[in-house]
């Protein structure tokens, strides 16, 4: 019997196991021990491990990141949490100038085993300052690892691997994944950082996705199947280091690629995917690679515009069809779910 768990619970279980497994691990962040427990991911941990190991903090993102770094230098393994990526911008200096570089710039003498969880907001008016998804920034910085799980299984396994890693890891969670459910084994297991995964096999094109976009890609693949198109989906899982080999192997096979992104198109991570494909498997390409990403504007708050802001399965399928020169099956072109477009599922009733 497979064990099913929600994504948020999978994170919670990973934290729990890491705390139990290594006394050096501690969890810190605004609201970590609060009654809602960061969307459920930290619930119960303070009760179990005490307020020294599972702790709230002042609204001082920059300083507290420095504190976490300092504690890591002397042997601790902090896990810091930000409820939105956007808040972590106050800590960019510490993350990029300091955490990412201490190992290198001291000739290997120091190490910063720090995990920083950052949550990407979306829907229900999250708007311009609560919805950014800046994996491309972190992926640009040597010294950082960047992880973006799409499934509960990967969330748990990658978080454990991140906590056990001796380098700083940016662990990006999409708010719309917290409620999804999937198979999650009990106990400690690792999903290796730097390994992508083929989540669906197909012969006609490769869709390269990450995090929540993997789900949209799966939905798009269903739409495409109705047109007789079989999409292969690669979930990169880790954006730095990138599993280039797996992506390229898939594109070599299919000859076509669409790279998805949870962020803006220009200079986003999908650009890196497309660039590598163009550089490395050019001769195997049957059509130019494509991207499906956010349009070039800040996130509008009103649902009227937010609903046109995020690329959905139908948009991905449309890009794929264009690439293949396939006409869409009219009936399926616009999936009529009846759901409002600014919530992941009907259980989500705002405000967050």
């Amino acid at each position: 019997m497979t064990r099913e768990l929600g994504f948020a619970q999978a994170i919670n279980e990973a934290l729990d196991l890491c705390l139990a497994n290594d006394p050096a691990v501690y969890v810190v962040g605004l609201g970590v021990p609060d009654p809602k427990g960061i969307f459920g991911t930290t619930l119960g941990l303070q009760q179990k491990y005490g307020s020294d190991r599972v702790m709230d903090m002042p609204t001082s993102e920059g300083g507290m990141t420095g504190v976490a770094i300092g504690s890591a230098l002397v042997g601790m393994r902090p896990i810091m949490t930000h409820q939105r990526v956007d808040f972590a911008l106050l800590a960019i200096e510490q993350i990029v100038n300091q955490a990412a570089k201490w190992h290198y710039m001291f000739g290997g003498k120091m190490r910063v085993p720090l995990v920083i969880r950052m949550i990407v907001g979306r829907g229900w008016g999250q708007g311009p300052q609560h919805s950014q998804s800046l994996q491309a920034w972190f992926a640009h910085v040597p010294g950082l690892k960047v992880v973006m799980p799409a499934t509960p299984y990967d969330a748990k396994g990658l978080l454990i691997a991140s906590v056990e890693d001796d380098s700083p890891v940016i662990f990006i969670e999409h708010r719309w994944l917290h409620n999804i459910v999937g198979h999650v084994p009990e106990g400690l297991y690792r999903v290796p950082i730097g390994e992508a995964r083929v989540v669906r096999e197909g012969r006609d094109l490769t869709i390269v996705a990450m995090s929540y976009m993997t789900l949209e890609a799966l939905r798009a693949a269903e739409l495409l199947r109705a047109d007789g198109v079989e999409a292969e989906i690669v979930d990169v899982r880790t954006v730095r280091p990138l599993d280039e080999a797996l992506i390229l192997a898939s594109v070599r096979k299919t000859g076509r690629a669409v790279a998805l992104d949870t962020s803006w198109k220009t200079a986003g991570f999908a650009a890196e995917i497309v660039a590598r494909i163009a550089e490395e498997v050019f001769a195997d390409l049957k059509a130019p690679p494509r991207r499906a990403a956010l349009p070039e504007c800040p996130t509008p708050t009103t649902p009227a515009l937010a609903n046109r802001y995020y690329p959905r399965a139908a948009d991905i399928a449309a890009a794929a069809r264009e690439l293949l020169g396939v006409a869409p099956d009219g009936a399926l072109a616009v999936p009529a779910t009846g759901l409002p477009l600014d919530v992941p599922d009907p259980s989500f009733t705002g405000p967050f």
């Binding site: 002042p58 609204t59 993102e61 229900w124 008016g125 708050t301 009103t302 515009l305």
Partner: protein
Amino acid sequence: MNAETLGELFYAMLRIRLVEERIAELYAEQEMRCPVHLCIGQEAVAVGVCANLSPDDYVLSGHRSHGHYLAKGGNLKTMLAELYGKVTGCAQGKGGSMHLVDLAVGFLGAAPIVGSTIPIAVGAAFGSALRGERRVAVAFFGEGATEEGIFHESLNFAAMKKLPVVFVCENNLYSVYSPLSVRQPAERDLMAIAAGHGVAAERGDGNDVAVVYALAGEAAARARQGGGPTLLELTTYRWREHCGPLYDNDLGYRSEAEFEGWRQRCPVAHAERTLGARGALDEAEIARMHAAIAAEIDDAVAFAKTSPFPKPSALLEHVYAQ
């Protein structure tokens, strides 16, 4: 404080209270699809401070800005339309509750990154000083924002340039569900911190609008006379949940007794009682006020609800200023 002034302040507080209560009521309809941070219980700060300002003066705020916006004279209709995501909203629907603006009355804007509008308020004062004006700029923020380094950087620059800024800290004891004890040392003294920066500072009861009015009056006068910035720490309490329309004492992060104590100190009721005791307000007048405000809100809600959403083409408008 004379009864006339107190009466005006009472009306302004009552209006904010009733607007917030209406938002709380309507929120369940799920038509306002953006986070809302209600200021019920904290109205005296917004009203007592803004009563000392003219439309030329500037106000900046954070995530909990409805009261500041309304107290500064912000348009109720465009505020509600903004919460409903309509093109008639004060930010054309692009901002929502956390990004109110009304330039006509000097409400320069609000943004929910904790602490981040504090230096922007200082900059507004600085810019206006560079232009040879002497407009006062007020930054409203919670006590959580005083934990952000940028707050201290803002004090330093405002003091160095003797800028006409009033820093208004609404200390409501909590940041979301986190009490002061997990965020600040017990010995923390914001007055001393301000003084160390060369910023005048006063602490006061944020639930007594007369107290707030007097303290803010001095601060604004100091600013206008070239005496530089002032920090006010005003103690108050948020009644509803941090974000959203409900009560949340059941979550257990604060006690029912604590909440009750603060509810007894309701700033609106306190002003009402004072006016009543002085014979300056009777039941009938109160009823007239409620009715007038309710009618105004009905109107604004109708405006918001019937207004159109932005057109799809608006998505890519306003990325760059032309």
